[in-house]
C-alpha cells in the first residue's frame, strides 16, 4: 500500500442551518488502492462524509486533499472537473437517467464534462468491464428494461467511466437481495481492484465487511454533538 493517501480529510465540522446536527471529523484518510467499508447507524453522517470527500459539500474549515489537489482550497469549477476525472460515485438509488441507454449512462461523465472525450481505449475498457459484469449484451437497453441487478452493474460501470482514482459508494447494495448484493459487491470490488482505485463503501450489511481491507465505524472517526 502506498504511503501517500488517495484522499485525506482534516478538521471537518458539519452543521446545518436551523438544525442541532453537528459532526466533527478530526482526521480521515483513504490510502491508494485501499478498500474500506464504513458502517454506522442511520443519521451518523456516512453519506455526508462521502459528499465531503467528493467535494460536493463543504465542511467548515475542513481540509480535503487528494494527492496534490486541494479539494477544499480549489474553485467549485476545479472541484467539479476533478470529481468527474478522478472520483467515481455509486449511489444507493443508482440514479441512472431513464432516457439514456445503459451504454449512454455509462458514458454520462464524459457527456457532461464538456472537456474530456472518451477515447477508443476508454470504450474498449468500459466494454470489457461491462462484459465482465455480464451486461455487455444489454448496453442498448434503457434502464426501465433492465432488472435492478443489471441497473446496479450499469451504475458501477458508470462510476468507472473516467478510470477514477477514488471510488465512493453510498450503500450500493442496499436494495438488493443478499445473493445479488454479494454478487454486486464482489463485482464492484473486483472492478475497483482492476483499475487500482481507492474504494470507500458505506454499508449497513455486516456480511459484506469481510471483503474489505479495513472497516471503519462512524463513531470512531466522527464526533457527534449538539454543542460546539
Amino acid at each position: 500500500m502506498n504511503a501517500e493517501p488517495a484522499i485525506q480529510l482534516r478538521q471537518a465540522t458539519i452543521t446545518y442551518p436551523g438544525s442541532t446536527f453537528r459532526m466533527t471529523i478530526d482526521r480521515f484518510e483513504l490510502a491508494r488502492q485501499e478498500q474500506v467499508a464504513c458502517i454506522g447507524p442511520s443519521g451518523s453522517g456516512k453519506s455526508t462524509l462521502i459528499r465531503i470527500l467528493a467535494g460536493i459539500q463543504s465542511a467548515g474549515e475542513a481540509q480535503v486533499s487528494a494527492g496534490e489537489f486541494s479539494v477544499s482550497g480549489s474553485s467549485a469549477a476545479a472541484v467539479r472537473a476533478w470529481r468527474i476525472r478522478r472520483v467515481g460515485l455509486v449511489f444507493q438509488d443508482l440514479q441512472l437517467l431513464e432516457y439514456l441507454t445503459a451504454w449512454e449512462n455509462i458514458l454520462l461523465p464524459f457527456a457532461i464534462s464538456g472537456s474530456i472525450r472518451p477515447t477508443e481505449k476508454d470504450h474498449d475498457r468500459l466494454r470489457a468491464l461491462a462484459d465482465g459484469m455480464g451486461i455487455v449484451d444489454l448496453l442498448d437497453r434503457k434502464p426501465m428494461r433492465l432488472s435492478h441487478g443489471e441497473r446496479q452493474r450499469v451504475a458501477i460501470c458508470r462510476s468507472m467511466a473516467t478510470d477514477p482514482e477514488i471510488l465512493l459508494c453510498d450503500e450500493p447494495t442496499a436494495s438488493l437481495d443478499p445473493r445479488n448484493a454479494a454478487m454486486a459487491m464482489d463485482l464492484l470490488l473486483e472492478a475497483a481492484s482492476s483499475c487500482g482505485c481507492a474504494t470507500f463503501v458505506v454499508t449497513h450489511d455486516h456480511d459484506m465487511l469481510a471483503r474489505f481491507q479495513r472497516v471503519v465505524r462512524m463513531d470512531e472517526i466522527a464526533v457527534m454533538g449538539g454543542d460546539s
Binding site: 469549477a77 449511489f91 437517467l97 431513464e98 432516457y99 454520462l108 457527456a111 457532461i112 434503457k142
Partner: protein, 392 residues
Amino acid sequence: MNMGLLHLATRRIRHEWLQAVVLVLCIAVSIFLPATSTMLMSQYNEGLMDRAARTPVVIGSRGSRFDLVLSSLYFRPVNIDPVSMAVLERSEQEINGVLVPLHLEHTAQGFPVVGTTTDYMFQRELVPVQGTVPVSLGEALVGADVASSLGLAPGNTLRTDMVNLHDLSVPLSVELKVCGVLPETDTPDDQAVLVDLQTTWLISGLLHGHVEPQDATEDEEGVSLKTDSVVVFNPALDQYNSIDMENIGSFHHHVDPDKLPLSAILLYPRDAKEETLARTRINEPTLQQAVIPRRVIDDLLAQVFKVKRILDGLSIVVATCTGILVVLVITLSIRSRRQEHRTLHMIGCAPGAVTGLVSIELLIVLLLSILLAAGASLVAVALAPDLLRLIY
C-alpha cells in the same frame, strides 16, 4: 456549445416525444397564426392594390362600388346591373382618354369569360406567348392558369358553361376556339378567357347565327313558311353554337346596337384633369357611376384590416395560453427532474450546465416550432392565391 449536453437534450426530447410534440404544435400555432395572417394580408393588399392602382377609373351602373370594382378588375362573379353601349359611345365623345368596355357575365369550364376589345390587352400590357389576340367571333385568348389547367394551346377549343337551360333563345354552350395563350402575370388575367365583345353577346343569346334565309327549304325544321319573297322561321330553328369560316357570316343580332349590354367600362383618361372631368360628367346627371378603384380598394382593405385586428387579438390570446402552457410544462419538468439534476451535479456537472441542458431542450423545441410554423406559413402563402380566389 457542449455537444454532450446537446446529445443529452436530444435524447431526452426523443424519450419524452409526446410532450415535445404537444409543445412544438402549441408554439408553432402561436407563431403560425400572426405570421401567416400578416403575410397573407400583405400579399392580399399588394395584389388588390397593384391592379387597382393601374386602373384609373371604372364606369358602371349605380350600385355597389365594391361589386363594380371586384367584378371589373378581378372578374369576381357578382351581380351588377349592366350599362348599355350607348354609355360607351357617349363617354367616347365626352371624355378624352381610352375607354375599354367589358362584358363579364359568363364562364367557360369554370373560368370567367371576359368580353372586351384589343385595347384591354394594350392597357394591361398583355402580349400572348403563343398565338394572337382574339379578332374574330368565337376566338379566345386564354390566361396562363386556364391554359395549364385545361391543357389548352392555340387551335384547341373550350366550351362556355350553360347560361339558362330553359331559355331557347340562349345557346346551351358556345364552342370557343383558342387563338392565343397569355404569359403568367400573377393577376386575375391568368384565370381569364378573353374574347371579343360580340362573342359574349353570342353566349348571352343576343347574337346568333342560323341557316341563311335564301338557303332555307320549306320542309326544313324551323322554317314555317317560305315563298319567293318571305321566309318565316319558328323557334325550332337550329342556331349555330360553334363558329367556323362557313357560318361566321350568318351571325347577327336583332337588338338596337345602343342597347347591347356592358358590365363596366375601364377608363384611362389622358390626364388627371380629364379624370376629374370624366367623373363629374358621369356621376352628376346619369344612372351611371365612375369610381376610382384605388379608393374603393382602400376602403375595402380598411374593412379587411378590422378583421386582421381581431385575428391579431386572437393570436395574442393563443400566444398567452401557449406561454402559460410552456411555463407550466417547464416548471413541472424541472420539478420532476430534480433527482436527475442532482445526479448530474453530483457526478460533476456545473449548475449552469444543468440549466443549459433545460435551455437546450427548450431551444430545440422552439427551433422545431419555428421551422414547422415557417413551413406551414410558406405553404399557406403559396396556396393563398387559390384560397383568395375561393373567398373572392
